[in-house]
């Protein structure tokens, strides 16, 4: 996998989940890590998933709510781009982990994004909101 993805042009992070720079939230057995990066004119959201239990655990990234914050503090809704309809509720395998990089559909000029993760899992998070500032590709 690393040889397959190693030559791709636009990755700030490697394919190892939970690299530095990710904001991590625990929802029972499920751990989620988030980071954003700017690649060209678009924003990519890195989502790390990890199951710390033996039982498969459900995650539904369709339930992720995103707001993009613009100049002056105005917030507008943003969406995960899913052109092939691949993002649907799935169970994270026993002790499995992985990373997904998803483009964000949003109005241009956003300074940061805030994610509401309260409905992503059956377990309610203690901190349901994750706010992320975009980093440019290549910046550690």
């Amino acid at each position: 996998l690393s040889s397959c993805f190693g030559t791709l042009p636009h990755t700030r992070y490697d394919r190892v989940p939970f690299s530095k720079g990710h904001v991590v939230r625990k929802l029972g057995c499920l751990e989620l890590g988030f980071a954003t990066e700017a690649v060209g004119r678009r924003t990519l959201l890195d989502v790390d998933v990890r199951n710390t239990c033996i039982e498969p655990t459900l995650v539904d990234l369709n339930q992720l709510r995103i707001e993009a914050e613009h100049e002056g503090g105005a917030r507008r809704p943003a969406y995960l781009a899913d052109p092939r309809g691949e993002i649907w509720p799935m169970h994270v395998d026993s002790f499995a982990e992985g990373t997904e990089r998803i483009a964000v559909d949003e109005a241009s000029g956003a300074r940061r994004r805030c994610l509401d993760i309260s409905k992503v899992s059956a377990v309610a998070p203690t901190e349901p909101t994750v706010c992320l500032t975009v980093a440019s590709a290549g910046v550690p």
Partner: protein, 225 residues
């Protein structure tokens, strides 16, 4: 039967190797962004749903065959046929190996097929002792449930058992309710015991111990069912 098995095994190997080649050697990834990937899909590396919904099992088994009421015939009528009751046994006992594959339909429902080959020796009506082979080919639906780290299953085996003594053979259909209990050794492996009785000849029984590999952790079933 052996030729068919060998042919199917060869085709399966070819199919699996070609899939692997397509994904690995010949597929060059062009993006790591969901929806733009060419060689993979969302969840490939971590989700249960992206794993094949199959289990494969290997077992050691004891099987019995009721020869009474059947006629054993020789290939090309090399010798005259004889009645199974002329063997003067209640059942023929044999020991051997089995291999099975099950395809998950839902968490509780699956379709399985199974092949067993067992052997021993038996005495012909003439008094000669010869090699006994039994070949058991079955398939059918099954139900299973998991209670923490123990799984119970109940299935219907439908198929055919062929018994051969030397060069003489006879066959009988199989309609066999079977059950099993399995203990999870890891999220992907179980060890267990199974048994069943042929409703068409109740003296035909099978039981044994089985090691199973589950492609989906805990059969892809989350807790709470």
């Amino acid at each position: 039967v052996k030729r068919t098995i060998a042919l199917l095994a060869g085709l399966a190997t070819l199919a699996l190797s070609s899939v692997g080649s397509a994904r690995g050697r010949y597929c060059t990834e062009q993006s790591d962004v969901v929806g733009e990937e060419r060689c993979s899909s969302f969840g490939d590396s971590w989700s249960v749903e992206r794993r094949p919904a199959i289990t494969s099992s290997f077992d050691l088994r004891h099987a019995t065959f009721d020869p009474n009421g059947l006629t054993f015939t020789y290939k090309k009528n090399a010798k005259p046929p004889f009645s199974g009751s002329a063997l003067r046994v209640v059942s023929l006992e044999s020991y051997g190996l089995g291999f099975g594959v099950a395809y998950t339909i839902t968490e509780a429902f699956y379709i399985q097929n199974d092949y067993g080959l067992t052997a021993n020796s038996a005495t012909l009506p003439s008094g000669e002792r010869d090699v006994l082979f039994m070949s058991d080919m079955t398939g059918g639906p099954g139900l299973r449930t998991r209670l923490k780290y123990v799984s119970l299953r109940l299935e219907a085996d439908l198929g055919l058992t062929v018994a051969g003594i030397g060069k003489a053979s006879a066959a009988r259909g199989v309609v066999r309710p079977a059950g099993g209990i399995e203990v999870w050794l890891s999220p992907y492996a179980t060890i267990g015991a199974f048994g069943g009785v042929n409703l068409l000849a109740w003296r035909e029984r099978i039981f044994g111990v089985v090691l199973t590999y589950h492609a989906r952790a805990l059969d892809g079933a989350p807790g709470g069912w």
